[in-house]
C-alpha cells in the first residue's frame, strides 16, 4: 500500500472517529437525565469516552497529514482541500490545548461538529495530489500556512465557546424586546450553520447521482487596445441548473425531477469566474438548508436554540466566557505571526514586496484589526459576556470569509488556493 493510499484511508478513519466522538458528547450531555444514573458520573464517563475517541480521530488525522506529506513530497497545504483539512486538524489541536487548560468536556460538543463540518467541506474540493507550482515552492509554505491556520483554529474554538455561551444564557422563554432579538440572532446563526451543512450534503448527493449539465457561455472581452473579442467557454455543472450561466446555451443537461431546462439565467453583472455555477450552488444550498431547517422545526416544534438550550444547563456561563476570550487571546499572537508577519516575509521573497494590498492580505489585516478591537473592548466594562460572545461569533465569520469567501468572490494573487 502506498503512502497516499494509506493517507486517504486514515482520513476516512479520522472523519468517522470525529463523528463518533461527537455522538458520544451528545450522549454525555443529552443522557444526563436518563433514569437510574448519577448525572455527574454520567457526564464524566461519557465525556471521557468522547474525548478519547475524538483524540484518536486527531491521531488518525495527523497520520493522514504526515503520510500525505511523505507521499506527495511536499507539505499538504497547497490547495483548498489540503488547507481545509489542515484547518480542521488545527481546530482539534486548539481544542486539545484549551481542553488541557479548562478540562471542560462540553467544549468538545461544539468544537467537534465544527471540525466535522470543515473536514467534510474540504472533501468537496478535488482531492488528488498536485505538484507544486513555482510560486509555492518555498519553505514558507510550511511555516506561513500552518501558523496562520493554527491561529485561526483558536479563533474557531473561541467561536464555539462563544456560541455555547449564547445558547446557555439567552433566555429562550423571554418575551422582552431584547430577549426576542437575541433569540432571533441565535436562530439565524444556527440557520446559517445548517445551510453550510446542507451545501455539503447537496454536493455529495448530486455527486452520488452523477448529475451533469454543460453550457456554452459566450463572453465578450475588451482588451487594452480596445479590441472586442468574444470567447466561448464550456461550463460544467454538477447540480441541476436553477441559474444557467449568463449568455449561454445548453449543450447537455440531465433531467432532474422533471426539470429539463434551466429555470433562470444568471444576471449579467455577476461576471466573475464561474459566477453562474457559484450562484447556482449558493441557491441550492439555501433551498436545501431551508428545507432541512424547516424539517427540524417540524420535528421539534420549537426554535432550535430552545432545543439546545436545556442541554447547556449546569454549565457555568462565566467559564464559557473566559474560555472564549482565552482561546482568542491564545490565538491572536499565533495569527499575527502566521497570517501577517510570516506572510509578509514570504511575500517579500516571492513577490518582491512585503505588502501589496492583495485582497487576501487586506482580509487578513481586517481579521487582525477585528480581533484587536475585540481585545481592546474586553478591557472595558460591559463588553464581557453577551456582547463578547457575539463578537467571537462574528469574528469567526470574518475568518471564514478571509479563508473561503475571498477565493470564491474576489480571487487575486492567492488564486492557487481557488476553487
Amino acid at each position: 500500500m502506498s503512502f497516499l493510499e494509506f493517507s486517504s484511508d486514515a482520513f476516512i478513519a479520522a472523519f468517522f472517529l470525529y463523528c463518533f466522538g461527537f455522538l458520544f458528547y451528545m450522549i454525555a450531555i443529552g443522557g444526563k437525565k436518563w433514569s437510574n444514573r448519577d448525572p455527574e458520573q454520567h457526564v464524566k464517563r461519557w465525556g471521557r469516552v468522547a474525548y478519547i475517541v475524538s483524540t484518536l480521530g486527531l491521531v488518525a488525522h495527523l497520520a493522514f497529514f504526515f503520510t500525505r506529506w511523505i507521499g506527495a513530497g511536499h507539505i499538504p497545504t497547497s490547495n483548498m482541500y489540503e488547507f481545509m483539512t489542515f484547518l480542521g486538524m488545527s481546530i482539534m489541536i486548539a481544542f486539545t490545548v484549551i481542553y488541557s487548560i479548562y478540562r471542560s468536556p462540553l467544549l468538545g460538543m461544539f468544537a467537534l461538529p465544527l471540525t466535522i463540518i470543515i473536514v467534510a467541506y474540504a472533501s468537496v474540493f478535488p482531492q488528488e495530489v498536485q505538484p507544486l507550482i513555482p510560486a509555492l515552492n518555498s519553505i514558507w509554505l510550511k511555516i506561513h500556512v500552518t501558523t496562520a491556520a493554527l491561529g485561526e483554529a483558536f479563533f474557531a474554538v473561541g467561536f464555539a465557546a462563544g456560541l455555547m455561551y449564547l445558547l446557555r444564557v439567552v433566555d429562550f422563554k423571554g418575551k422582552t424586546k431584547e430577549a426576542r432579538r437575541a433569540q432571533r440572532w441565535v436562530e439565524f446563526t444556527l440557520y446559517v450553520i445548517i445551510v453550510v451543512i446542507s451545501f455539503i450534503i447537496t454536493v455529495f448527493v448530486f455527486r452520488g447521482m452523477g448529475y451533469e449539465a454543460e453550457f456554452k457561455q459566450m463572453q465578450v472581452n475588451i482588451d487594452s487596445r480596445g479590441q472586442e473579442t468574444t470567447t466561448e467557454e464550456n461550463v460544467q455543472y454538477t447540480m441541476p441548473p436553477i441559474f444557467k450561466p449568463y449568455n449561454s446555451e445548453t449543450i447537455s443537461m440531465d433531467s432532474f425531477i422533471g426539470m429539463k431546462q434551466p429555470l433562470l439565467e444568471t444576471p449579467y453583472w455577476m461576471d466573475g469566474v464561474n459566477a453562474g455555477r457559484k450562484l447556482n450552488t449558493v441557491v441550492w444550498s439555501i433551498i436545501a438548508g431551508s428545507l432541512l431547517y424547516g424539517l427540524l422545526r417540524l420535528v421539534f416544534r420549537k426554535p432550535l436554540g430552545a432545543v439546545i438550550h436545556p442541554a447547556m444547563e449546569g454549565i457555568d456561563p462565566e467559564d464559557l466566557d473566559e474560555i472564549s476570550y482565552r482561546a482568542i487571546a491564545i490565538g491572536f499572537p499565533i495569527f499575527t505571526l502566521g497570517a501577517l508577519i510570516f506572510a509578509m516575509i514570504w511575500a517579500n521573497i516571492a513577490w518582491s514586496r512585503f505588502w501589496g494590498w492583495d485582497p487576501k492580505e487586506v482580509w487578513a489585516l481586517i481579521t487582525w484589526l477585528y480581533y484587536s478591537a475585540y481585545l481592546h473592548l474586553r478591557l472595558s466594562r460591559g463588553w464581557q459576556g453577551h456582547r463578547s460572545a457575539w463578537l467571537a461569533v462574528i469574528g469567526f465569520v470574518i475568518v471564514m470569509f478571509t479563508l473561503i469567501g475571498v477565493n470564491l468572490i474576489i480571487a487575486g494573487l492567492h488564486s492557487y488556493a481557488g476553487v
Binding site: I133, I222, W269, I330, G356, P359, V362, S372, H376
Partner: protein, 551 residues
C-alpha cells in the same frame, strides 16, 4: 474646581485616582458601589485625567481614549473592505484606469473609480486613519504606562480591607492559632508556585508575572516602529520599484543605478505527465522559471550614448521564483517571461532582379543595426527603423513598441545605375510582414529592380526567451522586521503570561484574601485554592469567584 483627593490613610492622590495609590481604598464614585473593583491600570490617575484641560490636553485626551482607538480600528477595518470590492489600480499593469472600471463593471465601477476607491490604500483618508492610529498608539501608551509603572513600583503590602473584599477573587475565614505563622506558611506555598512574596507582619503581597503588564506597550512600540519604517520609504533613495525587460544575452542598464543586468539564459520547465495526477495529465503545469542572471557594475562611460560602457561583473545568481538575486540592497525578482522567439538578426543578400546576381550577405541586427552597409558595389544607408511597424493616424509609418514584433528598415540604396541621392527601400525581414504591409507596393519601381532577401533559415538568428525582472531597493525593510519582531515579543509577553497578585491580611484572627489577575481568572482561582489546600483549607476554586464578569 477643588477636589479633595486625600485618602484617609493620609496619602495625597492625583485627580482622577480611582483607588488610593497607597492603601488601595476606593475613592470617589468607586467607593459607593459594592461591585468588584475596577482594577484597570491599578486605579491610578492617567495623564489625561487632568482638571482644567488646555487645548493640547484636549487633543491628548482624545487620542488617549481606548474607545477612540477602537473606533479608529473599526473605521480602518471598514475602509479596508472597500478596497477589495474591485481590483486596485496597482494590481493591473495594462489597461487604463479611467476606463477600466466602467468597461468591466458598468455603472458601479464608474462610481467606484469616481469615489477614488480604485486607490483606497493611497487615499488621503486612509493614510489619515493610519496616522491617527499611530498617534493613538503613542498617546494611549504614554498616558497609561508611566502612571502604571509608578503604581506597580511602590506597592504597599497592607491594603485597605475594602480593597481586598472587592476583588474578583475573595476568600475570608477565621484562622485559629498564630496569624504570623499562618501568613509565613502560606507565603512558603506561594513561593513554590513562583510568586515573589512580601510580608509585613500579618499582611502579605504575593506577585508573579509583572513583566507581562509591559507586553501591550512593547507591542505598541513595535507597531509604531513598523509604521515609521513604512513611512520611511518616502525618503529619497530608500525605495525603488522598477521592471526590466531582458532579452537573452544582452546587458541592460538598470535605470537610476550604476548597475547593468544580463540574462544569460532563461528556462521554463514543465512537469512531465509521469509527475502529474491523472486529472492534470496533458496540461502544462510549470515546475520552474529560472533566469541565469549576471549583475555588472558600470565603471566608465556610463550612460554615454556614443561609447560602450565598461562593465565589471559583481554578482551572479540563478533567479527563480522565491529566490531573488540580492546584492548590496538591490534585489531582482523573477516577474514574468515571454517565450516567443524574437528576431535578433538576419543575414540577407541584395539581389539584382534584372541580372539575377546577388550580393552579400550582410548581417542586420534588429536592436543594434549599423548606419550603413557596403554590399557588393552598392551602399545601403539606414535612414529609419521601426520595431513594430504600423501606419499611424497621420498616414506616416510609426512603431507601436520597442519589441521587434514587426521590424522594418528604411534604407537608401546607392550605387551604379542609381540616382545620386539614392533610391528609398523599405525592408521587412519577416516574410509575413512583407505581405501584410505590401512591401513591393510601398517600394514601387525599385521593387522590380532589387530585392533584399534572406536565403534560408540558417541566415536568421532568433533570440531566446525574454525574461522580465522586478528590481527593488527597499532600505526600510530591516526596520520593518525589527518592528514586527518587537511587536511579536510584546504580544507573547502580554498574552502568554499574566500578572497575578494575591493580597491577604489577618485582623483579629480573621483572614481576608483578595486576588487579581489581568487575564485567566481560572488559573488565578486555581493558584489560591491549591495554596490554601496545602494549609488544610479545602475550597472549590469556583467558590472563590466574587462575580464581576457580568454584563
Amino acid at each position: 474646581m477643588f477636589q479633595n483627593t486625600k485618602c484617609e490613610c493620609g496619602h495625597q492622590n492625583h485627580v482622577g485616582t480611582v483607588l488610593c495609590e497607597y492603601c488601595g481604598k476606593p475613592l470617589g464614585e468607586e467607593s459607593l458601589s459594592e461591585e468588584p473593583l475596577e482594577m484597570r491600570y491599578d486605579g491610578v490617575a492617567r495623564r489625561s485625567q487632568k482638571a482644567n484641560p488646555s487645548w493640547i490636553d484636549r487633543i491628548w485626551n482624545f487620542f488617549s481614549s481606548v474607545k477612540i482607538a477602537v473606533y479608529l480600528i473599526v473605521i480602518t477595518l471598514l475602509g479596508s473592505t472597500l478596497g477589495t470590492i474591485y481590483p486596485q489600480e496597482s494590481t493591473f499593469l495594462s489597461g487604463d484606469p479611467t476606463t477600466y472600471y466602467e468597461v468591466n463593471y458598468g455603472l458601479p465601477g464608474k462610481i467606484y473609480y469616481a469615489l477614488g476607491l480604485s486607490r483606497t490604500y493611497e487615499s488621503w483618508w486612509f493614510i489619515t486613519l493610519l496616522v491617527m492610529i499611530g498617534t493613538s498608539l503613542v498617546i494611549c501608551s504614554l498616558d497609561r504606562v508611566l502612571p502604571l509603572y509608578r503604581a506597580l513600583n511602590k506597592q504597599s503590602i497592607r491594603k485597605h480591607l475594602t480593597f481586598l473584599k472587592r476583588q474578583r477573587v475573595v476568600f475570608t475565614r477565621d484562622i485559629p492559632g498564630d496569624p504570623e505563622e499562618f501568613v509565613e506558611k502560606l507565603g512558603e506555598q506561594l513561593k513554590r508556585k513562583g510568586y515573589r512574596v512580601n510580608r509585613d507582619g500579618t499582611a502579605l503581597l504575593a506577585e508573579k508575572g509583572r513583566f507581562s503588564r509591559w507586553g501591550p506597550y512593547i507591542n505598541h512600540i513595535g507597531l509604531i516602529l513598523f509604521l515609521l519604517a513604512v513611512l520611511a520609504r518616502s525618503i529619497p533613495g530608500w525605495y525603488m520599484d522598477s521592471y526590466v525587460t531582458l532579452p537573452e544575452g544582452e546587458a541592460v542598464e538598470i535605470k537610476d543605478t550604476n548597475y547593468y543586468i544580463k540574462n544569460e539564459k532563461f528556462t521554463v520547465q514543465y512537469y512531465t505527465d509521469d509527475e502529474l495526477p491523472d486529472e492534470l495529465k496533458g496540461t502544462l503545469r510549470a515546475k520552474l522559471y529560472e533566469t541565469k542572471a549576471v549583475l555588472y557594475e558600470c565603471t566608465a562611460y556610463c550612460g554615454d550614448l556614443t561609447r560602450e560602457p565598461e562593465l565589471k561583473e559583481v554578482h551572479r545568481h540563478d533567479i527563480i521564483v522565491n529566490d531573488p538575486l540580492s546584492y548590496k540592497g538591490l534585489h531582482a525578482y523573477q516577474f514574468d517571461f515571454d517565450e516567443t522567439p524574437k528576431l535578433k538578426a538576419v543575414k540577407p543578400v541584395l539581389v539584382d532582379k534584372q541580372t539575377g546576381e546577388s550580393y552579400g550577405p550582410f548581417e542586420l541586427s534588429m536592436t543594434n543595426p549599423e548606419i550603413s552597409y557596403q554590399v557588393g558595389p552598392y551602399t545601403l544607408e539606414l535612414r529609419d527603423q521601426f520595431m513594430e511597424f504600423a501606419i499611424g493616424e497621420n498616414g506616416k509609418p510609426t512603431t507601436l513598441s520597442r519589441e521587434p514584433n514587426a521590424p522594418a528598415f528604411f534604407f537608401l540604396i546607392k550605387g551604379p545605375g542609381l540616382p545620386k541621392e539614392g533610391e528609398s527601400y523599405l525592408y521587412f525581414p519577416r516574410e509575413i510582414d512583407k505581405v501584410r504591409f505590401s512591401q513591393d507596393q510601398i517600394n514601387r519601381d525599385i521593387a522590380d529592380r532589387f530585392e533584399i532577401k534572406v536565403g534560408s533559415m540558417e541566415n536568421v538568428v532568433l533570440s531566446g526567451a525574454t525574461t522580465f525582472l522586478n528590481i527593488r531597493v527597499d532600505t526600510a525593510i530591516p526596520y520593518v522586521w525589527v518592528g514586527a519582531a518587537i511587536s511579536m515579543i510584546g504580544l507573547i509577553l502580554g498574552f502568554y503570561w499574566q500578572h497575578r497578585r494575591i493580597w491577604l491580611r489577618i485582623d483579629d484572627g480573621k483572614l481576608t484574601l483578595g486576588a487579581h489577575t489581568n487575564k485567566n481568572w481560572f488559573g488565578m482561582r486555581g493558584d489560591v485554592a491549591s495554596a490554601l489546600r496545602k494549609l488544610d483549607i479545602v475550597v472549590e476554586p469556583k467558590s472563590l469567584d466574587n462575580g464581576g464578569n457580568k454584563t
